[in-house]
């Protein structure tokens, strides 16, 4: 019976008895009995045509606290899986005001990319990691932000990896991120570390968060990243899909 209900997890708006029986390898009688039990409580209901069944409203009573949208809790399993897959450090970042803040991370052992910037807020134009989040604001917001941001070179001493950046460099990173759905970069400071970052977006492509994996170049070079790419994407896909159902928190760029 649970297997019958699970069939309504897919994209089908409605399912018929024959279809369900075929899919589950059960006989029609068993499927019919399961549907009758499920329908008695409203877990499924007959569709407007009357011959097929659609998902019912009863799942609304199953609340728990599963729907609380806590981005850190939601992303944690994916961070752990990515760390397990790559053995490298992983970071979760969100936008707070006009900055990026890392709110969760797992550090690799030994030579590694460290979370030296724990909880520190980094302006959205400094470092590629920040720009990867900036990329998912709209062009007008980004232009407003860049117009009022501190000169792009002011923080060069703190973030030498993006020193001497121009607005053009920022826009180039933004275009790359939007085009590929991920971005890779190198930071000569941390053992010449390589990073790759993926966005977690809502249905209108506004940013919830950014997930970054980074490691020393000898272990986590471009080739290794390319090899791991399909598996990293597979880990992130269900999370990214889930987060599309919830609107991202608002970002206020104006009023500096």
């Amino acid at each position: 019976m649970l297997a019958v209900l699970s069939c309504f997890c897919g994209a089908d708006r409605s399912l018929g008895v024959t279809e369900l029986a075929q899919r589950l390898g059960m006989n029609k009688n068993m499927v019919h009995r399961a549907l009758t039990t499920l329908a008695a409580d409203g877990y499924v209901v007959r569709d407007p045509g009357g011959a097929r069944y659609q998902l019912g409203y009863r799942v609304l009573v199953l609340r728990g606290d599963a729907d609380e949208f806590d981005i850190r809790a939601l992303c944690r399993p994916a961070l752990e899986e990515l760390h397990g897959l790559t053995g490298e450090s992983v970071f979760l970042s969100i936008i707070v005001g006009r900055s990026r803040v890392n709110v969760d991370w797992i550090e690799a052992r030994g030579r590694r990319v460290s979370a030296s910037q724990r909880g520190r807020s980094v302006p959205l134009h400094c470092t590629t990691m920040s720009r990867a989040l900036l990329a998912y604001l709209d062009d007008r917001e980004i232009a407003d932000y860049l117009a009022s941001a501190a000169p792009l070179t002011r923080y060069d001493a703190i973030f030498p990896e993006t020193a001497n950046a121009t607005a053009q460099d920022v826009w180039r990173d933004i275009a790359a991120m939007r085009r590929d759905g991920s971005i890779t970069w190198r930071n000569p400071q941390q053992y010449g570390a390589n990073y790759i970052a993926f966005p977690v977006l809502d249905a209108s492509d506004r940013p919830h968060a950014l997930i970054t994996v980074g490691g020393p170049r000898e272990r986590f070079g471009p080739q290794r990243i390319a090899e791991l790419m399909p598996r990293m994407r597979a880990i992130l896909q269900p999370l990214q899909q889930h987060c599309r159902h919830v609107l991202a928190a608002p970002v206020i760029i104006e009023g500096s």
């Binding site: 009758t36 728990g64 609380e68 608002p250």
Partner: protein, 264 residues
């Protein structure tokens, strides 16, 4: 139907109703069955992903499958997807969380929300269900229904032992909503202030309501707020879309008799 499959649903609903992870003993006590029986049920539920272990303990919380089914249910309301950008506009214009509540029989279900920058408490979860007579969003929908619907709602509520306000009081409140063009509700933590909701109609009765959940209005003078017209304009933009293709936005349970939809 064998009672064991039915029992699995009852166990699932215990886990689903609890605000903390549940163990087999606790569930057994609530349902009046042995912990061993509960454990077999939990095992079947766990294998199908309906429940999961809380931090590898012997206590259970709802599993991923339930989340997927719930998201699927919300997605069946076509109104949700076109509302998203407008909810965001409203949240931006008001600074408060803006939400979408759809009609389900004699209930309202909150299926989408855009968080506001002034939000300090955690808002109710998506999927929260309220009776149509409770809360501004649900009441905005109730006020838009055909004359006589309120009496039907009250009769249904009494039959199923739902808490019902006095019919006259309710009718008066609904008349106020029709006069203002929006419903209000006092909010926690802000005495004398009120949240508001506009019904979303495709011409006839409302299919949904859009609420601004923060304490934006002066409860004594709800009409006086200078930005009401701006907010109303945003809601009307959605209404124009619905009115252009009303059939597209019919609810997934509109073919059922509202009296038949009863949730515990």
């Amino acid at each position: 139907m064998s009672s064991s499959t039915r029992r699995a649903l009852h166990i699932l609903e215990q886990v689903g109703a609890a605000e903390h992870p549940l163990g087999a003993t606790e569930i057994g006590r609530a349902l009046g069955i042995s912990a061993g029986t509960v454990f077999r049920g939990l095992d079947a539920l766990e294998r199908a992903g309906y429940v999961g272990r809380f931090q590898s303990s012997a206590k259970f919380v709802l599993g991923k499958t339930v989340g997927t089914l719930r998201q699927n249910l919300f997605a069946r309301f076509a109104i949700r997807d076109i509302c998203m950008p407008y909810l965001r506009q409203l949240a931006f214009a008001s600074g408060e969380t803006a939400s979408l509540t759809v009609r389900l029989g004699w209930y309202g279900v909150r299926i989408a929300a855009a968080p506001g920058t002034n939000e300090v408490t955690s808002s109710p979860p998506l999927g929260a269900v309220r009776l149509l007579g409770e809360g501004c969003a649900s009441r905005a929908i109730l006020a838009s229904l055909a004359p006589g619907a309120t009496a039907d709602y009250a009769a249904w509520g009494r039959r199923h032992k739902k808490p019902m306000p006095d019919l006259k009081t309710l009718e008066r409140a609904l008349a106020d909503i029709r006069r203002h063009g929006f419903a209000t509700e006092e909010t926690a933590f802000a005495r004398g202030r009120a949240a508001l909701a506009f019904a979303l109609t495709g011409g006839g009765p409302a299919i949904a309501a859009i609420a601004i959940e923060g304490p934006v209005l002066d409860a004594a003078r709800p009409d006086a707020h200078e930005r009401l017209a701006q907010w109303r304009e945003i809601v009307q933009s959605v209404e124009r879309l619905v009115q252009a293709r009303p059939a597209l936005f019919a609810g997934p349970f509109d073919h059922l008799d509202p009296d038949d939809i009863v949730l515990p």
